[in-house]
Amino acid sequence: MIGVEPVAAPDAPLARRNPVAKLAAALVFSFILVATLDPVAPAIALAIELALLPLFGVRYRVLARRALPLLAGGVGIVATLVLFAADRSGRVLLDVGPVLVTEGVLVTALGLVLRMFAVALPGVIVFATTDPTDLADALIQNAKAPARFAIGALAAFRLVPLLGQEWQTIALARRARGVDAGRNPVARLRLFGSTAFALLVGAIRRGTRLAVAMDARGFDAGTPRTVARRQHFGTADWLLLVGAAVLAGGALAVSIALGTFRPLLG
C-alpha cells in the first residue's frame, strides 16, 4: 500500500523549518551538484547529507528504505555508460562484444551514480519531513503560489491512498470478470491500460464531486481567503537556505581545488 505521510520526528530542529525553505534549500543543494561530473564533490555532499540527517529527525533505516528505488536508476546509469560511453580512455578492464569497460568509463559511471544519490537524497529528506498541508500553506503564504491551485492540488493529493486501494480493487475485479494476462506481456499491457482507464473514470467522478463540495463551502466565493494556519519564514529558514548553498558550493570548491572537477557543460 502506498503511504504519503511524513515519517520524521516532527520536532527535530531542521524538520521544523518552513517547508518552502526546506524545498528551496534542497533544490539549491541538488542543482549546484548537478554541475559537476566528478566523483569527489558528490561524495563530500553525500557525507554532509548523512551527517545532517539526525537534525532532520529521519532515521537511517527510514532513509535507506525510501532511497531504495534509486538503486534501479543507478543500475540504469551504469548500464548505459558501459554500452554507450563516448570516452573509452584508460586501461581496458573488460571487452566482450559491444561491452568495452575501461577505467575512464568506470570513473565516469562512479561519478554519475554518486551524483545521482547526492542529488536525490535532499528530495527524499524533504518529502520525509514535510506534511503536505504545511507545504501547501507555506507555498501560498511564503512563496506566493496561487491559493486556489495549491489547495486544489492538496485536496486531490489527499486521494492518493484511496486511489491506491481503488487500483487494487479494480485489478481484482478484472480477474473476477475472467480477464487475466498470465505471462503474455501484450495482454499485461492491455490489462494495465484497462485498469488505468477505470481508475481515471473513478478519479474524475470523485474530482467533480469534490469540486462541487468545495464550491458549496465557498471555495469560489471570490472573497479574499483568510488563513487558519500561519507559516512563518524567519531567520532560521534563511540560514538553512544559505547554509545549503554554502555547503554544496564548498563541496564543489574542494573538487576544483583537488583538480578533479569536471563541468557538466563543456
Binding site: T80, R148, F149, L199
Partner: protein
C-alpha cells in the same frame, strides 16, 4: 471543437486537473510494481520506447480542461506525486516534470488555447518528449556518445511520445468523454446529447 468562453479556471477545472495528475502519480506507481523496475533499468531501447507514458498527463490535462496552464499543472503534479511515492529517478523530477510540461504547454499556448485537435496533441506530446530526452541526455547521461546513444535516444523518445502521449492522450480523452464523466468540460460536449 469550440473553446470555452473564458480562460479563467473554474473550481472543477482545478480539482479535476489535480485529480488527473494525482491519478497518474498512482498509475506510475502501479506501473513500477508491474514491471518491478526493469523498465527503469533498461537503457535502450526499452525505456525510451515506453517513455511516452510519462507524458500522457500533459496532453490529457490540456485536452480535458482546455485552459492556459492545464498541461503544465497536470504533469507537474503527476511528477510531484511520483516523487512523493518514490521514484527511481529521484527528485530531480521536481524540475524535469515542469520542464517537460512547459514544452507541451508551449504548443497549446501557440494556438491561443483554441485548437485541441489531434495534430496539436501530437505536437505537444512530441515536444514534451524531446524536452524530457534533452534533460536526460544532459543531466543523467553526460559522457555518452552522440551517434550511438544521444541522438537515437532523443529520436526514439520523441516517436514514443508522439504515439503514446499524443495519439494515446487524444484517444484517452475521447474514451473518457464517452463515459460521461467529462460532461462538465468542453471535451465531453463534443459527443451527441443522450
Amino acid at each position: 471543437m469550440k473553446h470555452t468562453d473564458s480562460n479563467r479556471w473554474r473550481t472543477i477545472d482545478i480539482v479535476v486537473a489535480a485529480v488527473l495528475g494525482v491519478a497518474f502519480g498512482v498509475i506510475f506507481w502501479a506501473w513500477g510494481l508491474l514491471w518491478n523496475g526493469p523498465a527503469e533499468v533498461i537503457p535502450l531501447p526499452g525505456r525510451a520506447v515506453i517513455y511516452g507514458v510519462w507524458l500522457v498527463p500533459a496532453v490529457l490535462g490540456a485536452l480535458v480542461v482546455r485552459k492556459p496552464g492545464a498541461a503544465f499543472f497536470t504533469l507537474t503534479l503527476a511528477a510531484l506525486v511520483s516523487v512523493a511515492l518514490g521514484s527511481a529517478w529521484g527528485w530531480t523530477l521536481v524540475v524535469q516534470g515542469p520542464a517537460e510540461a512547459a514544452a507541451a504547454e508551449l504548443v497549446f499556448a501557440a494556438t491561443g488555447y483554441r485548437a485541441f485537435r489531434m495534430p496539436v496533441a501530437l505536437l505537444a506530446g512530441t515536444l514534451a518528449g524531446v524536452a524530457a530526452a534533452l534533460y536526460d541526455v544532459f543531466i543523467w547521461y553526460p559522457g555518452t556518445a552522440w551517434g550511438s546513444f544521444r541522438l537515437p535516444y532523443i529520436l526514439i523518445t520523441a516517436v514514443s511520445s508522439l504515439v503514446v502521449a499524443g495519439v494515446g492522450g487524444w484517444y484517452l480523452t475521447r474514451a473518457l468523454a464517452g463515459t460521461g464523466v467529462l460532461d462538465r468540460f468542453p471535451a465531453g460536449r463534443d459527443r451527441p446529447a443522450v
